[in-house]
Subunit: 306 residues, 2 copies
């Protein structure tokens, strides 16, 4: 029920994921609002958390919201993973409150894969869950992000960088300087040092850790640059040349990678862009299914316990 184009595009994307990828789907929402589900199962939920609702309060108040019921379905083993294109904060709150936090995790973090041409994406976390962070949390982000890169991209020893404003270890704010020291000694993390904003979309690093404020700023700044450049290129080219380049630019859109995942909770929760099309929804569902099949939650549990 969540997202700017729900339920139409969400149901269409779910049907596509079922038909094209053989993924077993359970829709969660108001049965009468969903239209033709193509025979997909429906878990009824009478309430909807709107995009503008305050996340924590909404999850506590709207106990029969589709987001809450979806998280409960994962908790209860009735679903292997959840996907939502709705209110990001509420999706995170639902996952955290209903699935619970993995033991030992100080703060769950949002991991967003950033497309890099010719190689595996860079996993950026925290992309926005925690506006204020402690250095020790960033070490856990490194461990969780490494587990993600191993499980999803098959990297044996993902290279972890710390987002800063200079490569030297002394560069950055006090959070970064403290985190740098801790990461040098952290177990299970192949720390390669500081990286900069311009390294995010390169082959030089696999996982980039940062606080949720800087991570979200970087993510949205890149999205803005992508949109601006796409529009400029479209405006400058004749239509046929634009059609040549359009799929290339679309392939660089983080949306195409199926959305962000909340790492550190006891279940798979993938969050798509609010404006997700049916294609983006289908991609997100495929990602959620892959992460469940790869048992990412167990991998994160082990990484944190190690």
């Amino acid at each position: 029920m969540g997202g700017d184009r729900a339920p139409g595009e969400v149901v269409a994307g779910a049907r596509r994921a079922a038909e094209e990828h053989g993924i077993e789907i359970v829709l969660v929402g108001r049965p009468e609002a969903l239209g033709d589900t193509g025979g997909l199962a429906v878990v009824p939920a009478s309430e909807v958390i709107e995009m503008g609702d305050e996340p924590g309060a909404a999850v506590r108040r709207k106990k029969d919201a589709s987001l809450v019921r979806a998280a409960e379905a994962v908790r209860d083993g009735k679903a292997a993973a959840m996907f939502s294109a709705g209110n990001t904060g509420a999706a995170m709150a639902s996952a955290l409150l209903r699935m619970g936090r993995i033991k030992g995790v100080a703060r769950p973090a949002v991991a967003t894969p950033l497309p890099v041409p010719g190689t595996t994406p860079t996993v950026l976390l925290d992309a926005g869950a925690n506006a204020e962070c402690q250095a020790a949390w960033l070490v856990q982000f490194a461990q969780m992000g490494s587990a993600y890169a191993r499980a999803r991209y098959g990297l044996d020893e993902p290279r972890v960088g710390l987002l800063s404003i200079g490569e030297e270890s002394g560069k950055g704010n006090s959070l970064v300087k403290d985190a740098h020291r801790l990461l040098l000694e952290a177990g299970g993390v192949r720390f390669i040092g500081n990286v900069e904003g311009r390294d995010l979309l390169t082959d030089g690093v696999d996982v980039v850790v940062t606080d949720g404020f800087s991570g979200n700023v970087a993510l949205k700044a890149m999205e803005g640059a992508l949109r601006l450049l796409s529009d400029a290129v479209e405006g400058a080219l004749p239509p046929d040349a634009w059609e040549t380049v359009r799929p290339v630019l679309e392939g660089l859109d983080p949306e195409a990678y199926g959305g962000a995942m909340l790492l550190g909770v006891e279940g798979v929760c993938v969050i798509g862009h609010g404006a997700s099309s049916a294609t983006a929804v289908a991609n997100g569902i495929v990602v959620a299914a892959e992460l469940a099949a790869a048992d990412l939650v167990s991998a994160v549990r082990s990484a944190i316990a190690a």
Copy 2:
């Protein structure tokens, strides 16, 4: 003498600024290293601060460095402005230590204009001078950035946004929340509220204030995204179509706007990219000359005193 392509491209750019724009130039550096200066005046300076030097220490130790002598020339009224493509931190330290801070300014900040198609650039500050900030400093950044937008772009009442991770006033880290409150009551600032990373390159805001860590992360993330997309577009297009679109993309390059300015010191100091070409150097010199002619320093002084 500073920059990856100095002195060749720097001298070439200076000559172009003199020849094409009628700007009176004084080169600062080792006379024997400069090659054919085309008759431009030279202030001799025997030392060079290298890109890898620690800024503060280098400025104190190398008293006859070209950067230091250039800042002294501005201080002594022998030049109206300085431009450097060298070590950014050392250029800032030279300007701060030799020109001095404007009375009342807590911390000078780097202002970087971001190109926006079809309208005036967005002035982003702090783009990297202060990795850690206090909320009151961000209010001064808003005042100084507004003075810049008025002086350089002729905007009467520039719209000032506060970089955050959500538009609502409650979104962000504690620095942003405190700064939001202070900005609502700040004099001489037309505060329009929080903006996000994706707003930086749009017509929705004229000046964006943030701490130097987030500002630098955002700037470099956009640079990285633009470079990646440019390469991708070039790779996908036939050569003639690429030649159509190339000037459009080059116009979106922040470098084309002539570099960053250190605001809050008693003189004009414009800092170009280390890899500046002759064109970028010439652009930067033109910007420095414009800002001197517009008497930006007096404008900043008034904005802070008000």
